[in-house]
Symmetry: C2
Subunit: 108 residues, 2 copies
Amino acid sequence: MDNTAENNQKFTAEMPDLEVLFELADLFKVFGDSTRIRIMFTISENEMSVLSIAEALNMEQSTISHQLRVLRQNKLVRVRRDGKQIYYSLDDDHVKKIIEMGLDHVLE
Amino acid sequence: MDNTAENNQKFTAEMPDLEVLFELADLFKVFGDSTRIRIMFTISENEMSVLSIAEALNMEQSTISHQLRVLRQNKLVRVRRDGKQIYYSLDDDHVKKIIEMGLDHVLE
DNA sequence: TGAACATATGTAAATGTGTTCATATGTTTA
DNA sequence: TAAACATATGAACACATTTACATATGTTCA
């Protein structure tokens, strides 16, 4: 059984509970903002402090902080404090894969 | 080179142009609404008419029609007219895979 | 052709979201 | 401890989104 068939089988099972569908939509909502997408790209290779991210994207520190909170709440980033700075990085390869699937669709 | 490494390489390449990032965010925005997610599940196995979808989800016909337009504009559904009815189905396995990746994250 | 049916669309109301400004919280170091 | 710095948070505004209602458009068939 190849990967595609496996995926199809999984997908075409019964529709998940409404609650799960809401969670799913909420997850995608997080990816549905260009600032958050840019943050995710920015911290995809190396962890970065909040100010560095803000500078890299040329946006307000508070804007980035607000959006990092959304990413945090949805468990999409890892957080590490070192002295005054707080470093953010992407949580796992899962996140990258979701973005890649989207990129594939957009770029085709 | 295994699949994961391949994906990482693709992902960690330079950040795409701003324009692409906007498109990417717009794509995910489409997945970020529970009504549209439910529609996508509903038509994932068999094509369905607009009214059937509306009945299946117990929502107004116009609501479904509005959301189907969003899905259409983003090339996520296929459309086929047969007489008075218009049948919608998911466009490709791409779409299913994006949803599955999301489900994996939500269900873990 | 006209009535009946299926779908699409315009509009308006309610709700949600992103950003900024001001400020609070937490950490370091002089 | 106080000043300086990094980050987080509350509030307000502008803007976007979802939905429902009313109605237009398009198709069939009597």
